[in-house]
C-alpha cells in the first residue's frame, strides 16, 4: 500500500480512537445532571472519567498533529475553512478542562453549580459540532483552485451537516449512558441503565437516516455499504445488549459502530481528503495534500513504534481503574472554601 494511503488510514484510526474514547467522556458530561440528582451522585458520574478523560483528549491533538505532518494542505484548508466551528469546539474544550479540574477544588455550592453548567454545555457543544464537521467532509465544501475554502459559516450548516451533528450527539449520549452503566453502581447505575435502553434506539434511527443519505448522495463507491451495515448492526446490538443488561457487550458494540461510521466517512471520501463540492478538480486528495514520501516514512516509523506502546499504557489505566464507582466511594469534600474561617 502506498504511504499516503497508509496515512489516510492512520488518521482515520486516530479519529476513531478519539471519538470512541472522548465520545463517552462527552456523554458522561451531558448526562451528569440527569444521572446525578445531587452533588455526590454527580461526582460519581464525573469520577468514572476522572482518571482517563485527559488522556482520551490527546487522541484529538494527535489526529490534528498527524494531519499537519502527513497532509499539510488538508490541515491548512480544513482548519482555516472550518474556522468558526473549530473555534467553538476549542473554546468548549478549554473551558471543559478547567471545569472538570476546578469544580471540586472549592467546597461551595455556587462554585460547583457554575462549573457543572460549564461541564454540561462544553460536552453538548462539541458533541454536535464534530458531527457537523465530519458531515461537511463527506458532503464536500466549496474550494477554489488553490484549495482555499470559499464558503462561509452557513455553507457549513446544511441540513445534511446538522443531521450529522444529531448523529454524533445521540451516539455520544448513548455511549456515555452505556459507559456509566458499566462503571457505576447504585442509583446512578440504575438511572444510566434506563437511559441507555431509551437512547440506543434513538441513536440507531438518527444514524441510519444520516448514513443512508451519505451513502446515496455522497459516496462514490459501493463498498461503503459494508461499514454502513456494520455500524447499523453495531448500534442495533448495543440496543439489544442494553435491554439484556449486558453493558460490556453493549459498549463494545457501540464502539464498533463508531469505528464503522469513521470507515464509512473516510471511505466515502477516499481518495479525496477534502472533496470540493463546486468543482471536483479543486478537491484535495491524498496525493495533492500529502507530505513527501520521506516525511511519511519517518512518521510511519514513529507511529508504528509509539501507537502500540500508547495503547498498552492507556489500556493499563483502564485496568487500574476498572472498579465501579458508587456513592460510597466518594470521599467527603474536605476541600477549601474561599471565605477564610
Amino acid at each position: 500500500m502506498e504511504l499516503v494511503n497508509v496515512w489516510f488510514v492512520i488518521i482515520a484510526v486516530l479519529w476513531t480512537g478519539y471519538l470512541v474514547l472522548e465520545g463517552f467522556d462527552f456523554g458522561v458530561g451531558m448526562l451528569m445532571p440527569i444521572v446525578g440528582k445531587n452533588n455526590t451522585e454527580r461526582r460519581v458520574a464525573l469520577n468514572t472519567i476522572g482518571p482517563v478523560w485527559d488522556g482520551n483528549e490527546v487522541w484529538l491533538l494527535t489526529a490534528g498533529g498527524a494531519t499537519f505532518a502527513a497532509f499539510p494542505e488538508w490541515y491548512a484548508t480544513m482548519f482555516s475553512g472550518f474556522y468558526l466551528p473549530l473555534l467553538i469546539i476549542l473554546v468548549a474544550l478549554i473551558v471543559r478542562a478547567c471545569a472538570i479540574e476546578y469544580r471540586a477544588k472549592i467546597n461551595d455550592q455556587n462554585w460547583r453549580t457554575r462549573w457543572d453548567r460549564a461541564i454540561i454545555i462544553t460536552a453538548w457543544v462539541p458533541s454536535i459540532m464534530w458531527g457537523v464537521a465530519f458531515a461537511n467532509l463527506v458532503r464536500g465544501v466549496p474550494l477554489d483552485a488553490d484549495h482555499q475554502f470559499i464558503g462561509n459559516l452557513f455553507t457549513l450548516l446544511s441540513p445534511f451537516a446538522l443531521l450529522g451533528g444529531a448523529v454524533t450527539l445521540t451516539l455520544f449520549l448513548t455511549h456515555g449512558a452505556i459507559f456509566l452503566s458499566l462503571k457505576t453502581d447504585g442509583i446512578v447505575r440504575e438511572r444510566a441503565e434506563a437511559l441507555a435502553k431509551r437512547l440506543a434506539p434513538v441513536s440507531l434511527a438518527v444514524a441510519a437516516v444520516w448514513a443512508i443519505w451519505a451513502q446515496l448522495a455522497y459516496s462514490e463507491v459501493a463498498w461503503t455499504w459494508v461499514p454502513l451495515a456494520v455500524a447499523a448492526v453495531g448500534l442495533a446490538l448495543a440496543w439489544w445488549f442494553s435491554l439484556k443488561g449486558t453493558f460490556g457487550k453493549a459498549f463494545a458494540a457501540n464502539a464498533v459502530a463508531i469505528a464503522a461510521a469513521v470507515v464509512l466517512i473516510f471511505g466515502s471520501m477516499f481518495p479525496d481528503v477534502m472533496p470540493a463540492s463546486n468543482d471536483a478538480a479543486n478537491s484535495l486528495n491524498v496525493d495533492n495534500a500529502s507530505s513527501t514520501d520521506y516525511t511519511l516514512t519517518v512518521m510511519t516509523w514513529v507511529a508504528g513504534f509509539l501507537v502500540p506502546v500508547i495503547l498498552m499504557y492507556q489500556g493499563w489505566t483502564y485496568w487500574v481503574f476498572r472498579k465501579r464507582v458508587s456513592v460510597a466511594d466518594i470521599p467527603e469534600h474536605n476541600e477549601l472554601t474561599f471565605s477564610k474561617d
Binding site: 482517563v52 490534528g64 498533529g65 491548512a76 482548519f79 472538570i100 513527501t292 466518594i330 470521599p331
Partner: protein, 494 residues
C-alpha cells in the same frame, strides 16, 4: 487592523499566555517527583506533605496549561494556513511526535498519579509522577525542535514545483544546533520558575510557621518549609547557572544564524568594533527609527564578547544588515513595498533586558535563602517573607520576555533564512497567514480567546492563592484495615 496584524496579536496573546503556565508545569512536575521520591526513600512524612501541597498547585496549573495548549495545535491551521502549507512537510513531524511521544505520556500518567494514590503500589505510583514529568520535558523538546526550525531551518530543501520546504533529514531537524541550545535554556528557565515557586512559597510559610509558634521557632512545620525553601534555592542556583551558560551559547549561535536579531537585542544601529552592551538607551525605539537611538550606560566590549567570545570583535549593526538582507533576500515585495528586515527595536531591545533583569530576583532569593537558613536556622523576618513574595512572579515574566524576544526578533520572517542553508527556505510573516479567513473572523476569535483566557486566569490565580495560603495538608493516620474488603472512599476524587 488587518487580518495579518490581528492574527499576529492572537498568536502572541495565546502563546505568551500558554507559556506563562508551561514552565511551571515542566519544572514543578520534576520537583514534585523529587519530593515524592524522597518520601518513598526516607519515609519522612514532611516529604509526603510537601508532595501533596505542591502537587495540588501543580494540578491547578496543569489544567489551564493543557487547556490553552489545545489551541496551539490548531492555530497554525486556523490563522496561519499559508505558513502551514509552506512548512508542513517539515514542521508537522515534530508536532505530531510531540503528541505521540509526550502528550499521551503526560496526560495518561497524570491521571494515574492523581487517582492512583490508593490503587497503585508506592513504587508504581512514584513511577507515574516521573512518567508525567518526563512527558512534560519531552514535549518541550519537540516543540522547541519545531520552533528552532523556524529560527534556523535545516534538514530540508525547497521544492520549486510544490513551492514548499520539504524534509530531507529528520535527524538534522531534531539535532538542529538551535534546538540543542534552546532546549536546555528553556528547561533551565522552567526550573528557575519552579525553583522560585517552591523556594518562595517555602520561605513565606517558614516565616509564618516560625511566628505562629514563638516558643518553638524551629517547629516541625517551619523545618518542613525550610526544606522546601532550600530545595528551591538549590534548584534556582543550578538553573541560574545553566541559564547563563546556555544563554551565552545561544547568543553566539544567534550571532551566526540571526545576526539581525542580535543587533536588535542590542539596539546596535551601526556596525561597531568593539561593540558595547548598553543598559539604558533612549531615542525613538518605538518608531523603529534606528538613527535616533542613543546609548546612555554602556559596558564596553560586552556585546562583542557575547556574540563572538572576543572582547574586540566587530558586530554588524542594523543598517549594514538591512542592506545585506535586502541584497540577498530581496529589497521589495512583489507589490513593490520595501521590506523592513530590522525587527521592532522597542520590543526586542527591552524584552531582552527584562528577560535577564527579572531573573536576577531569583538569584537574590536563592542567596538569601542559603544565608538565612544556614546551620539549621529558620527565620521570622518580614523582609525575607516580602522578598519571597516579590520574587515569585519575576521568573514567570522573565521567561515570557525571553519568548517574546526570540519570536519578535525573528520578524519580519516567520521562518527565518539560514545563512548557510538554502536561500529559498524562508517565509515572511506577511505571507503566512490564512488568506481565506476574514479580519472579522480573527477579531471574533481573538476577542473570544482573550475573554475566556482572562476569566479562567482569574480562577487560576484565585485557586493558586487559596491553596498556597492553606499550606501543606496534615496527613491523616492510615484508616483501620480491619474491614479491608468493605468499601473505602477513594483517597482522591473530583
Amino acid at each position: 487592523m488587518e487580518a495579518l496584524e490581528l492574527a499576529r496579536w492572537q498568536f502572541g496573546i495565546t502563546t505568551v499566555y500558554h507559556f506563562v503556565l508551561v514552565p511551571l508545569t515542566i519544572g514543578l512536575s520534576t520537583l514534585v517527583a523529587i519530593m515524592q521520591t524522597s518520601w518513598v526513600r526516607t519515609g519522612n512524612e514532611k516529604w509526603l506533605r510537601l508532595t501533596k501541597f505542591f502537587g495540588k498547585l501543580l494540578l491547578i496549573n496543569f489544567a489551564l496549561g493543557v487547556a490553552t495548549g489545545i489551541v496551539q495545535e490548531f492555530q497554525f491551521g486556523m490563522n496561519w494556513s499559508e505558513y502551514s502549507r509552506f512548512v508542513g512537510d517539515v514542521f508537522g513531524a515534530p508536532l505530531a511526535m510531540e503528541a505521540l511521544a509526550a502528550f499521551f505520556l503526560e496526560s495518561t500518567f497524570l491521571g494515574l498519579w492523581i487517582f492512583g494514590w490508593d490503587r497503585l503500589s508506592k513504587k508504581v505510583h512514584l513511577a507515574t509522577v516521573w512518567a508525567f514529568a518526563i512527558g512534560s520535558i519531552l514535549s518541550a523538546y519537540f516543540i522547541l525542535a519545531a520552533n528552532s526550525w523556524m529560527q534556523h531551518p535545516v534538514g530540508a530543501e525547497f521544492n520549486p514545483e510544490t513551492g514548499r520546504a520539504e524534509m530531507t533529514d529528520i535527524f538534522a531537524v531534531l539535532t538542529n544546533s538551535t534546538t540543542l541550545v534552546a532546549f536546555p535554556h528553556v528547561i533551565a528557565a522552567a526550573f528557575l520558575v519552579a525553583g522560585t515557586f517552591v523556594g518562595g512559597i517555602g520561605v513565606w510559610w517558614m516565616v509564618k510557621s516560625t511566628r505562629a509558634n514563638p516558643n518553638n521557632p524551629a517547629n516541625s512545620d517551619a523545618m518542613m518549609y525550610r526544606t522546601a525553601a532550600r530545595l528551591g534555592a538549590v534548584v534556582m542556583l543550578i538553573a541560574g547557572a545553566a541559564i547563563l551558560i546556555t544563554g551565552d551559547l545561544q547568543a553566539k549561535l544567534m550571532f551566526e544564524q540571526q545576526p539581525i536579531k542580535m543587533a536588535a537585542a542590542e539596539g546596535l544601529v551601526e556596525t561597531e568594533q568593539p561593540a558595547a552592551f548598553s543598559l539604558l538607551t533612549i531615542g525613538n525605539l518605538a518608531g523603529n527609527d534606528p538613527s535616533s537611538v542613543r546609548h546612555i550606560i554602556e559596558i564596553p566590549g560586552l556585546t562583542s564578547y557575547l556574540a563572538t567570545g572576543s572582547w574586540d570583535a566587530p558586530v554588524p549593526g542594523l543598517n549594514d544588515l538591512q542592506e545585506q538582507y535586502a541584497e540577498r533576500y530581496g529589497a521589495t515585495t512583489a507589490d513593490g513595498e520595501i521590506i523592513e528586515y530590522r525587527p521592532n527595536l522597542l520590543v526586542t531591545y527591552w524584552s531582552f533586558r527584562l528577560m535577564i533583569g527579572l531573573a536576577i530576583f531569583s538569584a537574590a532569593l536563592a542567596l538569601a535563602i542559603f544565608w538565612v537558613t544556614r546551620k539549621k536556622q529558620v527565620s521570622d523576618k518580614t523582609w525575607f517573607k516580602n522578598l519571597a513574595l516579590l520574587s515569585l512572579p519575576m521568573p514567570f515574566m522573565a521567561a515570557s520576555f525571553g519568548w517574546i524576544f526570540t519570536e519578535m526578533g525573528r520578524q519580519p520572517f516567520v521562518v527565518a533564512p539560514n545563512p548557510t542553508g538554502s536561500d529559498q527556505i524562508f517565509l515572511m510573516t506577511l505571507f503566512g497567514y490564512s488568506t481565506s479567513v476574514s479580519a472579522g473572523e480573527v477579531i471574533f476569535s481573538m476577542a473570544t480567546f482573550t475573554i475566556v483566557y482572562s476569566v479562567l486566569g482569574v480562577f487560576w490565580f484565585k485557586l493558586q492563592k487559596r491553596y498556597a495560603s492553606e499550606g501543606a495538608p496534615v496527613i491523616a493516620p492510615p484508616p483501620d484495615d480491619s474491614d479491608d474488603e468493605a468499601r473505602k472512599p477513594m483517597s482522591f476524587a473530583y
